[in-house]
């Protein structure tokens, strides 16, 4: 590993510390009896940009296990994602990551 000037490293570490210091949150999508599997898969692909395989896997997790954590990040980011999922009519909530 090459040596870094001290100042630069310190600033870099401080930014990392701030990100790590925040409790991560997750966006949960819940199973519901009205939304179709086709639609839920499409929303995951379109909004999150997931591949069809990943979107289908998460949709099946929602369907079979009742819920799936579809995204993780800061609380603000998860608020955005929950609002977006709700704008599509998916039943979405947020919670601190376990």
């Amino acid at each position: 590993m090459t040596e870094q000037p001290d100042g630069g490293t310190a600033i870099q570490e401080r930014v990392e510390d701030q990100r790590l210091g925040q409790q991560p949150w997750v966006c949960i999508v819940w199973n519901d009896p009205v939304n179709t599997m086709q639609y839920v898969t499409y929303v995951f692909q379109t909004y999150f940009g997931f591949t069809k395989e990943k979107a289908t896997r998460l949709m099946l997790e929602v369907h079979n296990e009742g819920r799936s954590a579809v995204a993780m990040g800061t609380k603000d980011e998860m608020e955005r994602h929950v609002a977006a999922m709700q704008s599509y009519g998916l039943w979405a909530t947020m919670e601190p990551a376990a």
């Binding site: 009896p33 009205v34 939304n35 179709t36 086709q38 639609y39 499409y42 379109t46 608020e79 929950v82 609002a83 709700q86 704008s87 599509y88 009519g89 039943w91 979405a92 909530t93 947020m94 919670e95």
Partner: protein, 179 residues
């Protein structure tokens, strides 16, 4: 049917245009969006003064579910996001209403849905299904199956027919978009 530029053309029946128009208008009434203004300050005031949603209505509570099991978090989320969500849902339904407008009163109506409006259509059709599903009392998979097999004389059958038809339209649209 899909055009060269990705537009989807829907060849429909006159009563279908009327039915969808009525459903989309009812949706706008239900979400009751805060009044729009060019002025951000006025818009913010409108959002603050908007009448609260009637969360006793199962259709409303399904369109705007609590974002957290923690009441404080759920209330925070509503404060931050509810006005935007109400406006978004109304704007989506308005896109549908405007696309239906030229087809009104035509003997052989066609409705054209450009790429830029397809997400609004999908979201609106889905919101209509959620509202109808709530009106039909669908709360779990078993309720959903019962609604699929109602007797013709059941009083819920007319609503269930519309619910199934909207689902069919949504799946046609998804097939056209992804196909």
């Amino acid at each position: 049917m899909r055009d060269g530029d990705g537009s989807i053309v829907w060849y429909c029946l006159p009563f279908e245009v009327g039915l969808l128009e009525s459903m989309a208008s009812q949706l706008v009434e239900l979400v009751d969006p805060p009044a729009w203004s060019e002025d951000p300050l006025e818009r913010w005031a409108n959002e603050r003064e908007a009448a609260p949603l009637d969360r006793e209505d199962p259709a409303v509570s399904r369109l705007f579910p609590d974002a957290s099991s923690n009441p404080d978090e759920a209330s925070d989320f509503r404060r931050l996001m509810e006005a935007e969500l109400r406006s978004q849902k109304a704007a989506d339904a308005t896109v549908v209403l405007e696309a239906l407008d030229p087809a009104q009163g035509k003997a052989e109506p066609t409705v054209t849905i450009p790429v830029s409006e397809q997400q609004a259509w999908l979201r609106t059709l889905n919101a209509m299904r959620l509202v109808l599903g709530a009106r039909l009392g669908i709360e779990d998979e078993r309720d959903a199956e019962l609604v699929d097999t109602l007797e013709p004389e059941d009083e819920r059958t007319p609503v269930a027919d519309v619910y199934h038809w909207i689902g069919y339209l949504q799946s046609l649209l998804l097939d056209a978009i992804t196909g």
